[in-house]
Amino acid sequence: VTDADRLFREYHQPLVRYLTRRLGDRDWAEEVAQETFVRALRQKTIVSERSWLFAVANNLVRDEARRSARERRHLQLLAAEARDAEQEAPALTMERAQESADARSALDGIAERDRQALLLKEEGLDYGEIAEILGIEKSSVGTTLSRARRRLAESFEALQDARRRREQNAAS
């Protein structure tokens, strides 16, 4: 097993998951992850592999977003969930799609740095790694995360409540 193999096996999945959560598009996430690993292979030495990979991936996303070359857009999850429709009850598919759509809306509603910190933490990165990737003080990661979590949870709950009220009104 070469270093490249090991690196890929160890970090590809979490990196793609992180990028997918952040970008909302698995294809785009795969592309960014691949480019990240290509750059990693070109790198002679990497001190902290996980931090390095996530930081490079972050930079690639940021650069691409700046160029707006791809003009990636937000999801229409209701339509996208059609992929799984054959295997699930329509009502369930709709419900999950709605939950995903609410999650996406809630996540999109928080600040970029908060969002990245939250997603990196969900991938298991520690405060030191998150601070290094985001270029912030380690001591401020807790505050960043607490703010991100609160805003995400409250926003999501508000969206869900609004949806429930609409459904109840429609049913009554």
């Binding site: 996208a80 996406r104 939250l118 933490k121 429930r164 459904e167 429609a170």
Partner: protein, 288 residues
Amino acid sequence: MPHPDEGLIHAWLDGELEPSEASRVEALVATDPVWSAAAAEARGLIAASSRVVNALDRVPANVVPAAHRKPRRASWWLSRVAALLVVVVGASIVSRRDPTVQTVIPTSPAPKAVAMTAPPVASSPAVSEKMKTGIALVTPTASGAQAPAPRAASPTLAAAENRVTALLDAPSREAVPLKKTVEDSVVARREQLQGRALQLSAAPAAPRAARPAAHAALGEIREDAAKSAAAERCFVARAPKADSTAIVRLGPTALADSIRAGWEFLADSLLARPNGRPMLHQVPCPVR
């Protein structure tokens, strides 16, 4: 006592504090109700945000982009013109077919209402059907306004609700039937039950299908728990596994220890229904 530092509490819960600092926070949480409440809230936020992030994972590739779609100004006019055409054509058809039918061409604001709510005519089977028959859009209600679109059949909801109520009433040898207790709690409030009944009835054969509903139930339970510590202490979910006696007890303290690790487990067990039986159980509140 210092005022609770939310960031510090999150760092503590994330295991990111130095041992000495962690001990200090731990002592504050153990002795100060304000810190304790802040820690409990932080645990809830961590669990909730994690759940939201996990909900993102059902994201397929080749998604349909939408955010940058340019506003279609023409559709604003088209929809109104289409609506007007529907009304006029429908009225004329009906008047030709049956002279006894009173044709009412809605004046404002009725056409506006049609235009605002109707999707493009060609893509709407309902509207297309109305165009074919020429009846729906010109049949006046008692007030002369346009008849509202038919809603989902209420018998479906009633049947689903009855079904869930019956499930809650079903005797269980493993735990105390909890209808009365549940009624006293937030779990089975009628309005929530209605919405959940539809979800449950839609997936009778898939226990995991009830997970979103379980998540919602948990959220509601926790919300009310904040208002009623007694309700929080009394909430117990029993694992549906036949060989398991594991019980997760959501009390103010136990909740703090188990909410994150137990979230998925609870979500699975709350509304999992092996043998068509609800596995949501609530037992008398243990003395704490």
